[in-house]
Chain length 347, copies 2
Amino acid sequence: MSQVLATQQVTSSPFLRALQGVAQTPVPFWLMRQAGRYLPEYRALRATAGSFLNLCFSPEFAAEVTLQPIRRFDMDAAILFSDILVIPHALGQKLDFVEGEGPRLGELDVTKLVYDADKLSPVYETIRRVRQELAPDKALIGFAGAPWTVACYMVDGQGGGEFTRTKIFAYKNPEAFDALIAKVVDATVAYLAAQVRAGADALQLFDSWSGLLPEPYFTRWVIKPAQEIRSRLAKECPQTPMIGFPRGAGGLCQHYAEQTGFDGIGLDTQVPLDWAVENFGKGRCLQGNLDPVLLLTGGDALEQGVRGILDAVRGQPFIFNLGHGVIKETPPEHVALLAKTIRSHAG
Amino acid sequence: MSQVLATQQVTSSPFLRALQGVAQTPVPFWLMRQAGRYLPEYRALRATAGSFLNLCFSPEFAAEVTLQPIRRFDMDAAILFSDILVIPHALGQKLDFVEGEGPRLGELDVTKLVYDADKLSPVYETIRRVRQELAPDKALIGFAGAPWTVACYMVDGQGGGEFTRTKIFAYKNPEAFDALIAKVVDATVAYLAAQVRAGADALQLFDSWSGLLPEPYFTRWVIKPAQEIRSRLAKECPQTPMIGFPRGAGGLCQHYAEQTGFDGIGLDTQVPLDWAVENFGKGRCLQGNLDPVLLLTGGDALEQGVRGILDAVRGQPFIFNLGHGVIKETPPEHVALLAKTIRSHAG
């Protein structure tokens, strides 16, 4: 490990050290959607504010909600409060969030997409504010949606289904779809590099819908764009570790881990930890993968679930997380119990 | 292979020979939901009939729609037209199918569930009729839902979500949930054995929602009930091969294949064939796993998808299928193209 450390910044953050490949005790943790509707202080602030997109672009609001869960639960990392669909917005596709229904995107004309960096400057201001307030041993995670997942929303125009429209379009017109993916890749690299310049310590690429693509399309539209984003960012910000999260990838998770070059691999609930550790966890940080329904359930089931994961990854560089986002009905006390169980677990 | 064959019935059915572990050329095929709404002759018959449950219990209707796709596309196997929820119905839980919305189940009281075998006798009559009409080289597949999947509907009372209610109940009350699973296991064994006595040549256990359970619950409520059903049926009908389909199981698919003892393993779209063949396909029949959206798309993408699968499983005992059911908007000509592509592929 000493050689790896010599070429990387020395850091006091257990989260970043785990991403450098060094197992930590206690295991660092954060939760996907840790800033959000399950927290009363989020709901209170949300009620006074405007549309969801306005919130993402209000540095004061976004910085505050990014920090809320850290104050309560002392996670090892904060994650920028934002949305993966700011990229289509910055590319000029119309975007609205309909209350209670989710995003609605306007007509897509790939030839007209032009990345307007200025549209995302409030995000960088949020990052600067959060980084200033966070303790030095807490990491700030920037993020973006992976091109395949973002393209799903861009083509379908909304979420909620299996993105069949997108898949038919992509299967029928693979070269045209490549062109869309390429535009999203370029925008994503620019966006993530700017997040790092503003103060993000690590980056996560969320491929929430990678589970919809079989081979050979998984390689073409999940693995290859991730490789390209990773390698271009490795040049622009070589010190910044990156996590890839190919949700639903199943057995393809191994190809993804081996081929993308990410420092950390996010695992969804269905990835068996013993298999992941043995097949692609050697010297690579894994992150995951408690069932969010166990966090919602609480009690013994939650404690056993947390301990089961920690036992399975003993000695492995690991970041504890859920396999998917916090469910909005989750009682905050359950998150406190999760934090306590992790902190008190013997390494 | 000769030893295996010596202890099993000699059959003219390529589908059954593949399940005996012998690679077939051309590869036998059938499609999940091959009898259904994408066929105009199904829709015509459906329009004249009553509620969906009545259809499942009308041997004349059910036998006819079971045979419809075989007449058109000459699949190697017919699958009984029925529904996985006939088991809760036979156990005494109220069941309705609401047009356009799916199943609605009544209050669940596990202590009151009693299996009434007579309620399912129309299903066996359907099987007798279909077997009589099918050519000897065509197999008839009987089926049931796996206990976990059936229990999801029984506890949640309906489908359409992530079965969070069921999971919370099961996580909080694992022993009570064990008791429900045990009742469904008993009913399923009785039901499947009766299907074999009526003429089913093979059986498939559909665990459509196994992808919702992480370890150790996957072993407890997916693998163990499947093991028990398999071993009890192996005593009651030792000549009848059985396929398990753990949809969404991801990396856990390997544990399932190794531990359940099924002759065939159904793979969803997301299982990489190279991984499956190498890790659990040796001497075991695999089945799957074309993306149903490729069948909906048609054309070059469909042909390439079919060929890609057939190339990946060369020399492997294999049954071609989709990774999930036929999508109802699929043009029947696309199924004809799929059939032609499979039949003309050099083994």
